[in-house]
Amino acid sequence: NGETREIDAPQDMPLLWALRQELGMVGTKFGCGIGMCGACTVHVDGVATRSCSLPVGSIGTKQVTTIEALGESPVGQALQAAWLEEDVMQCGYCQAGQLMNATALLTSNPNPSQDEIENAMRGNICRCACYKRINQAIARVAQEGTANA
């Protein structure tokens, strides 16, 4: 998120647990620990990455972006606004990961097709099954661009 942080932790500690409990940044969520649910998604050098399965020692000087800094990017900000417009969430626990993944999608592909949205988002579980609204929120930003953010 643009800051350099140093921590004293084992090399093999997943980034997720370093973020949450060494750095106190709890926006990134623990869901499964095996990269199956996407709740822990962050960006590493702009690429959507499962932080539960990424050893903190492997990061080196790469840039890590978390949900806490999502609003600093135009796409992220537009998606946050669309999420509220569509009233996407029920419990909301998975939404940090959904937003991070959606931001990576629209950053690399600003006009995805329905199939591309579904394929890009299939790694993110929403137990409340707010999928229809997640899809609509992404489609809205794809359609309207980031100007309204």
Binding site: V26, K29, A39, C91, G92, E118, I125, C130
Partner: protein, 744 residues
């Protein structure tokens, strides 16, 4: 679900009391006190009117902002937004000036605080509105006094009192201090708005916490952070009912970051505390990793021999014997009905154990203060139950256990049981002064659940010469479980169509098990809808009808059932007119009379649960690999006279439909060696975005008090899908999850 009083009168309060107090610096604080809540909780204080307050706590500040307490736990069902909407409506507040605070666990102040059973809407629809209306009356009285006019000549606009005759206006904030000195109205006497004047009820309002969530702010239970906090993991046997013999805690203590490790003795009751080993570390990942060196030795007793295959065989044996353990519904002469039947339809149905897998794994934070007072931050659907359980375990009175209610990453019924609260209390009591956060891994969550009970049904239907259903017989093989106020492994004696068929026998056989069982969203209904609506579809086909026609024929001329004793008091009985209305509505929406597109078929399902009526139609096909593709789902629901928050309501229905489809298609927890075989999302596969069909949801308004939407939309979608697959393939799905190999 314990510590919940069964005596609460859902039929709403007749009389109530309010307490008003001036705030320091000006302003009005209002606490509603309702006898309804007084009956719901043991009365801690003596004075009438003080005891058992139902807290809708309104604070009106001089700057005209208003703070309303949301008393119930928020699990994603939208209650933290919706209950304050009811108060704000009758207060006539400017919603944009309202902020909402989550109330702590406090039975004396707030009455029942429960997220379960879709109960919050019917229980609070009138009391919350009365609370807001009473506060509005006090503001009117204050304005009347200030201006020397009759209160009846005053009206309100959002957060403003208006005297139209003189053009005078005063904001609620300007009047709040004076209002606090006004006599407190009798809640039962305060007039409520007519629906035509609603400004907030019926408005699509976004979740109150959503802006914080999209920014990743700490808001969930597991986000709780306290100075000096340490993290705990808990090793327990995967075999249900096992007792701990020994563990190598010294080895765990030697692992990096580990602060302590110790054994914990349970009480043999999974609802409270099972034997285990706690590992404490500076980081949960380190604590959890150190579990691998504990080498725990368990006494599994006989339970390790239990398996799904064994239960299947026991159910088959029970069916073969033809002798259920007990008959729990008996009407007419079932023997004669079958002896004289022109046709008998017979089928066996089965469904598996299911896990809840709330997205936020179970967790709880506890701090045992040096003075012996326990403070907790609990993601619990029944925080009052958890408070009681922890107090009992620690030998404290409940007032010595403070429970802060956190937002939850889902509940689905899992967090009705507070075992994780007792677990962390058992750990924290060993570490006075140090806050401890217990977190379960996903594997812990899937393998230590209170599962939706599996079940087996052998059904028979007797049809007369005219094809009329004249008898129904069910042998239900279920599981024995410890007594409790609600048994999710049970089946109602009135299970449809019992009241609409002259001869009925429902009987059951209960198998012993140590598998913990609990309520999963729409408990009992999520399984029984599949069984009975599928079987009735079979009956309908035998008689040359379709299921919606059979349903309408069965209830023809029937009047509403009388009020029934419900879990929290009397509830309106099943109303066949409402069944008919939603059935006709969904037939219209789905163009039921027209054939589906080529290669597809439609199926119907209806269910009444949690006071809500839902009829649903699924259109499905099979792809080239014989996998089920769901194209469209139409749902018509009747949950009363108002959809309080259309945003939340639609979201609940859409989510419930996909949840049900996921259960039908691919979810099962199998028992092997006395333990759950599934462990994480790779082998317990929830629906993902590509599976989501087109969803068409409409509500049928009826002249009934609004009821909750967390649950009733789920049950009928399962038989609607399986009935569609029968229409498509001619193969009947009689076992969940759907085994697509039967379609080849």
């Amino acid at each position: 679900m314990r510590n919940l009083s069964p005596t609460l009168d859902i039929a709403l309060a007749r009389r109530g009391f309010l307490k008003a107090s001036a705030l320091i610096g000006g302003g009005l604080a209002l606490t509603a006190t309702l006898p309804m809540a007084a009956r719901a909780v043991a009365s801690p204080a003596g004075a009438a009117g003080e005891a058992g307050m139902l807290g809708a706590f309104i604070t009106i500040n001089p700057d005209n902002t208003i703070t309303i307490i949301g008393k119930n736990p928020e699990i994603g069902q939208g209650i933290k937004t919706m209950l304050p909407m009811l108060i704000a409506e009758e207060l006539d507040a400017d919603w944009d000036q309202v902020s909402i605070l989550q109330g702590d666990t406090d039975a004396a102040r707030y009455g029942m605080q429960l997220a379960g059973g879709s109960f919050a809407t019917p229980m609070n629809w009138i009391p919350m509105r009365q609370t807001g209306a009473a506060a509005r009356q006090m503001l009117l009285a204050a304005a009347a006094q200030r201006w020397g006019v009759d209160a009846a000549s005053l009206t309100t606009e959002p957060s403003v009192v208006v005297h139209a005759a003189s053009g005078r206006r005063a904001t609620f904030g300007e009047l709040a201090t004076e209002a606090a000195a006004m006599p407190v109205p009798d809640l039962a006497q305060v007039p409520l708005k007519s629906a035509a004047n609603f400004r907030i009820i019926g408005r699509a309002i976004g979740g109150i916490d959503s802006p914080r969530i999209v920014r990743g702010e700490p808001i969930f239970g597991v986000d709780t952070q306290l100075p000096g906090m340490v993290y705990a993991a808990y090793e327990r046997s995967p075999v249900f009912g096992a007792r701990l013999l020994s563990a190598n805690t010294d080895a765990a203590k030697a692992q990096p970051g580990v602060i302590d490790a110790f054994t914990v003795e349970g009480n043999g009751n999974a609802e409270d505390l099972v034997d285990g080993v706690a590992v404490i570390a500076s980081n949960w990942w380190l604590a959890n990793r150190a579990r691998s060196v504990l080498s725990p030795q368990w006494d599994n007793g006989d339970w390790a021999s239990h398996s799904t295959a064994g239960y299947d065989a026991a159910a088959a044996a029970a069916f073969a014997s033809g002798e259920p353990q007990e008959v729990f519904a008996n009407k007419g002469d079932i023997g004669a009905a079958f002896a004289g039947a022109a046709k008998v339809v017979e089928a066996e149905y089965a469904y598996p154990f299911l896990a809840h897998v709330a997205m936020e794994p179970m967790n709880c934070t506890a701090l045992m203060h040096e003075d012996g007072h326990m403070e907790m931050w609990a993601p619990s659907q029944t925080p009052q139950g958890g408070q009681g359980a922890v107090a009992q375990y620690l030998g404290l009175t409940p007032d010595k256990v403070t429970v802060h209610i956190t937002r939850m990453g889902g509940g689905f019924g899992r967090r009705l049981t507070n075992d994780y609260m007792v677990q962390v209390a058992a750990i924290a009591k060993r570490m006075p002064g140090t806050p401890v956060q217990l977190i379960w891994s996903r594997e812990d969550d899937v393998r230590s659940d209170f599962y939706r009970p599996a079940g087996y049904h052998k059904l028979r239907a007797a049809l007369d010469d005219a094809g009329k259903l004249v008898g129904i017989d069910d042998h239900f093989v279920t599981f024995d479980r410890p007594p409790g106020p609600f048994n999710p492994a049970s089946m109602p004696a009135a299970e449809f169509p019992a009241n609409y068929v002259p001869n009925v026998r429902y009987a059951q056989t209960k198998l012993a098990t140590a598998v913990p069982m609990g309520a999963l969203r729409a408990p009992t209904s999520n399984a029984l809808a599949f069984v009975f609506q599928s079987f009735l579809d079979e009956v309908a086909h035998e008689t040359g009808k379709d299921l919606p026609t059979l349903m309408l024929d069965l209830i023809e001329g029937a009047e509403p059932d009388p009020t029934e004793p419900g879990f929290f008091g009397p509830t309106p009985g099943f109303n066949p007119h409402r069944l008919a209305a939603v059935t006709r509505k969904v037939m219209d929406m789905a163009r039921w009379s027209e054939p589906a597109a080529a290669g597809r078929a439609k199926g119907f399902g209806f269910y009444f649960s949690h006071m809500g009526y839902f009829a649903e139609v699924v259109e499905a096909s099979l792809d080239a690999r014989n996998q089920v593709v769901i194209h469209d789902v139409w749902a018509a629901g009747d949950v009363g006279s108002h959809i309080i928050n259309p945003h939340g309501a639609m979201n609940q229905v859409e989510g419930a439909i996909i949840d049900g489809l996921g259960q039908a298609l691919q979810l099962a927890v199998e028992i092997e060696g006395g333990a759950a075989k599934q462990s994480n999302f790779h082998n317990y596969q929830l629906p993902r975005m590509p599976m989501v069909p087109n969803l068409h949801v409409e509500f049928v308004m009826s002249d009934n008090a609004p009821t909750g939407l967390g649950e009733p939309a789920l049950p009928p979608v399962i038989p609607a899908l399986t009935n569609a697959l029968f229409a498509l393939t001619g193969k009947r799905v009689r076992k969940l999850p759907i085994d697509t190999r039967q379609f080849t």
